[in-house]
Symmetry: C2
């Protein structure tokens, strides 16, 4: 059972008239949206279901095409690694999707047009807020400048962080994101650093947005100051190796699922299902 009283992941009973939503990604079994959305559908009496659909990159255009043509399929949630690729496959990008170059939700308008938006940043901030964490004036280290990283970097800057240091295995990608965020938020000191050269001691908050890389931690916590908040948006395992390492050092932690639960209500609104 969840905090709301509805069992996590349980939709209303399905029939032929049930409206269809899906989350596409590859892999998909780590996805938290089926648990959260179906719970919300049941809680609010919405006759819909959201299913996990594993779609490899080569099949994404076909999935979007089928979604377009299927009259009872009303929306898509998009996860790794498709958030950037789907931008070119929708008819309109909402401001957050344009700004971040990444889409994590697509809805179908009544005239059939597809609109892509991105709630990762808003959900990330809301999840922190719900757990009492503020970012204003903080020095933030971020690992990972992919689709989710872009959305979150812009959202952290918009929250008024003092500085953001960006790191990525692909150094050029980190540099480009730093430049883009800095242009939109000139008051925030945004910079890119070489991975392994992060100077972790200077930061109040460490955010991992990079996918798991075997047993290797995305950032070395040995020099981190006490009290530094360690955030990992990776969903599976919920208690990631990074969070475990932070917990072992007595650091405060914040798990990936909060980013999702922070954006479910906003996404219901985006899909036209606001209770």
């Amino acid at each position: 059972m969840s905090e709301t009283g509805a069992p996590l992941g349980l939709p209303l009973p399905l029939s032929g008239a049930t409206r269809l939503f899906a989350i596409i990604g590859d892999p998909i079994e780590q996805a938290g949206s089926p648990g959260l959305f179906n719970q919300a559908f049941r809680k609010h009496g919405i006759p819909a279901v959201l299913v996990p659909m594993q779609v490899p990159p080569s099949a994404v255009p076909g999935a979007i095409a089928l979604f377009r043509q299927s009259a009872n399929w009303d929306g898509l949630v998009v996860t790794v690694p498709h958030k950037v690729a789907v931008c070119a496959l929708v008819d309109e990008l909402a401001p957050a999707a344009r700004l971040t170059g990444a889409v994590n939700a697509i809805r179908k308008e009544s005239d059939g047009r597809l609109v892509g938006d991105n709630y990762d940043g808003a959900g990330f901030i809301e999840g922190l807020r719900q757990h009492g964490h503020a970012l204003q004036g903080r020095h933030v280290l971020m690992v990972g400048a992919g689709g989710a990283g872009r959305a979150i970097a812009h959202a952290i800057a918009a929250e008024g962080a003092a500085s953001i240091t960006l790191v990525d295995r692909d150094g050029e990608r980190a540099r480009q994101l730093a430049e883009a965020v800095g242009q939109v938020h000139p008051k925030v000191a945004v910079s890119a650093r070489r991975q392994g050269d992060e100077d972790t001691q200077r930061h109040d908050v460490i955010v991992n947005c990079a996918p798991p890389d075997g047993d290797k931690l995305p950032v070395d916590l040995s020099a981190v100051r006490s009290g530094t908040l360690v955030v990992d948006i990776v969903l599976k395992p919920a208690w990631t190796p990074l969070l475990a390492a932070a917990g072992a050092r007595g650091l405060p932690t914040h798990a990936g699922v909060h980013m999702l639960s922070g954006q479910v209500d906003a996404l219901l609104g985006f899909f036209g299902l606001s209770p």
Copy 2:
């Protein structure tokens, strides 16, 4: 609640690891499979969901292609009007699908090949059996020689009916089906008649396999003998105009849902999910 105690249509709670099944058809809201399969998944503790997916004819090849490429999507149920078209899109046809030229279920083998089979006939017979109706030695009038009609005509012949009279708006389609069934079952007197010239008085059982056509009844019941069993495979409304007309004349009736419930267990086996 259903006879089995599980609420009709309620799956187990969904997560990212839930296995995906879909029924494709156009329209789709009349489909009974989401109700029956999700109830069965819950009853047997199978972590899967079956969703309705409205797919227009032009999008069927794309839907099959996406199903092929999606690693957590394990099976398809196929309904009107796609049962014949999908035959050309699978890699192998099981005997009942070859015989009837129609597929109502597709599973993915471990090597990725798609196998199409047809359980409409078996489900139809099983639904009748569960309600105490036998077809051996009976004279059967069938309206509708489309995908479902083909499967059911072959199954009725295999049950040892004395005769089958086939009627379709498309007279040539009725004639071809009569010839095909007669070739496989030479002991059954199979013939095609012009629609409106059915000689209803000669029959013990009347089966409608034709889609609804406005308010027009698929067959005129005014001359039917008392005791003639009237069967309609149309699912929506469950109490069809034909069944209502039969009930008003005091004739025994048998509704379409029994064909579906008769084949759910067999389809779970086909999908490799036998409890």
